[in-house]
């Protein structure tokens, strides 16, 4: 019997057992070997023969398990044989033939269908101890004629079933991969005071090689990233996952150019030779709009200011190509009302039914139309869909629109300093609350008060070590978006570090000190808090949303996964 190299549980090859092979042409179907797969064009073939349970008087039965090498001449010989063949007339230089002989096989009947050897019936000596007669052989030959096509059909059906099963498995694996990949993309873009992010991501296949990310750098800046791995589908998705992780872990390694340089060096040993990654990194100061960027061969982002669209240019090689690559950096200040669009070539390189590309011109024209970031993303998706006509989406599409919605610079409400004397935190709280009162009410004003007094207390006790001659400096600003309080110390004692998240259960069990609530309270009392150090000077910013949507998230992300 000829079969697959890999046994399946249903037909596990059995080890050879001792005893004579029993066979009798009087019940040839009982002696016929079970059908297995078609001879493979490569790999070893396995022939084996299973006897029926032996009749009570018969000697023991056995299974012949035989691997046939694809180069074994027995295959060509049997394929062209015209009926039952005596083992003795098989090519003597065939290892399989020798093994058959040793197993006690006397006659083999090739099963040939459509010119292909699909199986073999192997028989041991007749039970009657006489040789196989001419009638026996005729019977075997006609049996083979009928059995071969049936066996071939069975083999084809099983092959198809196996193919369908593996296809199904592949598909469900891809679904899981898609879910995993979606976890990489930000579900909810971080809340950025006055900034609005709208994003769209649609891979050409189940998974894709595009990515985008928004990483809070913790000092009032965010890192915005878009990238595109060459190719699409699973290979691209694997490289995308690793690039995404490297970017996240390298986010704090310096300027955008330094981040790209680091990721490039880390990526080179991991990435297949014919693949690379284009990537744009921007670091945006949310208070000032100051934006540094560097570009590893990604599409140049568009900036719209007062209806005029320009591109932000910086040169650099794609990631994963060349060790030692350096990345040009540039800087721009994003002003209130500006709109920024980051996009992958899935949009610009999409073709229409006439083979024309969507191109940069159309993208730029979409950018020129008035409307906010969300409307821009919607417009781009609609335009791309209309343009594609009956063409399938060719590549992954990513769009990220960033908008600075504040229309006026923050206004200074109050500025003052207090000596670093314990208790002065209440003075800071009182004055900040008085300044903030027209903009915040009730529990939100009280919440800011508690956060301010805790922060001022840390500045007095830790930052300035209660040195009365050193001041704690306070500023209160308000814009149409947020009210912000900055509290600065001179960094004598360094910032406060609270070892663990305070937990009342642990505290009551004596496993944590009863203290350590300060930073915990600050973080929960205000909408945003971040810290920044300039030299020794250490400043904490506390911000509360003001205006119509105060206290509600102002971000949105949409996913267009198929």
């Amino acid at each position: 019997m000829v079969g697959h190299e890999e046994p399946t549980p249903g037909r596990r090859p059995q080890t050879r057992t001792g005893g004579a092979v029993s066979a009798d042409v009087a019940m040839p179907e009982a002696e016929a070997v079970a059908p297995t797969a078609v001879p493979a064009t490569s790999g070893r073939r396995r022939l084996w023969r299973r006897s029926e349970p032996a009749p009570p008087t018969a000697p023991s039965s056995q299974v012949v398990d035989l691997d046939i090498d694809p180069s074994d001449p027995i295959l060509a010989f049997l394929q062209s044989a015209l009926g039952p063949v005596d083992v003795s007339s098989l090519p003597p230089y065939s290892p399989a033939a020798n093994e058959l002989k040793q197993s006690g096989i006397e006659v083999v009947v090739p099963l040939v269908s459509s010119g292909e050897l699909v199986g073999v019936v192997a028989l041991g000596p007749r039970l009657s101890e006489r040789g196989y007669s001419r009638d026996d052989r005729r019977l075997l030959e006609s049996l083979a004629r009928y059995a071969a096509p049936a066996l071939r059909l069975g083999q084809l059906v099983r092959e198809q079933e196996e193919e369908a099963r593996s296809l199904q498995r592949l598909e469900s694996e891809l679904q899981v991969a898609q879910l995993i990949q979606q976890q990489f993309l930000p579900h909810q873009l971080p809340e950025l005071g006055g900034w609005h992010v709208a994003a769209f991501y649609r891979p050409a296949r189940t998974v894709g090689g595009d990515f985008y990310d928004v990483v809070d750098l913790g000092d009032g800046r965010v890192m915005v990233v878009t990238g595109d791995v060459t190719d699409k589908g699973v290979p691209a998705a694997l490289v995308m996952a690793s690039t995404h992780a490297l970017l996240r872990s390298s986010a704090h390694s310096g300027s955008p150019g330094q981040v790209l340089q680091r990721v490039n060096e880390l990526l080179i040993p991991q990435i297949p030779q014919n693949m690379f990654v284009t990537c744009l990194v921007m670091m945006i100061d949310l208070t000032t709009g100051r934006t540094q960027f560097a570009n590893a061969g990604h599409n140049l982002p568009y900036l719209r200011r007062d209806g005029v669209v320009s591109q932000l240019r910086a040169r650099g090689m794609p990631l994963g190509l060349m060790s030692g690559s350096e990345y040009e950096e540039d800087e721009v200040v994003i002003e209130p009302g500006d709109l920024l669009l980051l996009y992958s070539d899935g949009i610009t390189e999409q073709h229409d039914d006439n083979g024309q590309m969507f191109g940069f011109g159309r993208t730029e024209a979409l950018m020129e139309a008035p409307g906010d970031g969300e409307a821009l993303v919607d417009r781009c998706v609609a335009a791309l869909t209309a343009f594609s006509g009956s063409m399938e989406q060719e590549d992954d599409v990513t769009l990220v629109a960033l908008e600075y919605r504040t229309r006026q610079a923050p206004r200074l409400l109050e500025t003052f300093s207090v000596p670093s004397v314990a208790g002065n935190e209440r003075e800071v709280m009182r004055r900040v609350m008085a300044a903030a009162e027209p903009h915040l009410v009730g529990a939100r004003l009280d919440a800011l008060g508690t956060a301010v007094s805790e922060t001022a207390m840390n500045a007095i006790e830790h930052g300035n070590e209660e040195r009365p001659e050193v001041s704690v400096d306070v500023e209160v600003h308000v814009s149409e978006i947020e009210l912000s309080v900055s509290i600065s110390d001179h960094g004598y004692g360094g910032p406060v570090v609270e070892a663990a998240v305070p937990d009342i259960d642990l505290k009551l069990a004596g496993l944590q000190t009863p203290r350590g609530w300060g930073l915990f309270l600050v973080e929960r009392m205000v909408d945003r808090v971040y810290e920044r150090s300039e030299g020794k000077r250490h400043t904490v910013y506390l911000a509360m949303d003001v205006g119509d949507d105060a206290g509600t998230a102002n971000e949105e992300t949409r996913e267009g996964n198929r």
Partner: protein
């Protein structure tokens, strides 16, 4: 003195009325207040915060300390007169898991 207190008792319930601010200056008076409560041997203690104008993180730590003592003594702690803001702080610190907050009637 930044925090003063009054102690009263009715049946098994003792009331501790706190006035002023609960911060690091309140440490000794809060301990003293609990000592005088203990001598009344109540089963239940109601902390009345209606006269309190300010509680900071150190004050929260002091209240955790009082709660620890009350639990060790097998006494039940309740709080009344909290403003919405301090009620929120009791909730986010999960003090409210151990100290029942009584609503104003």
């Amino acid at each position: 003195m930044t925090m003063s207190y009054e102690v009263s008792k009715a049946g098994d319930v003792a009331e501790l009325r706190l006035v002023g601010r609960i911060d690091r200056d309140a440490l000794s008076s809060l301990d003293e207040a609990y000592d005088s409560l203990s001598s009344l041997a109540p089963e239940r203690i109601v902390l009345d915060f209606s006269g309190v104008e300010y509680i900071n993180s150190t004050g929260i730590a002091l209240i955790v300390g009082i709660l620890g003592r009350a639990r060790a003594d097998g006494r039940n702690l309740q709080a009344s007169g909290l403003t919405p803001h301090y009620r929120e702080i009791f909730e986010i610190t999960r003090l409210s898991d151990y100290i029942e907050i009584l609503q104003h009637t």
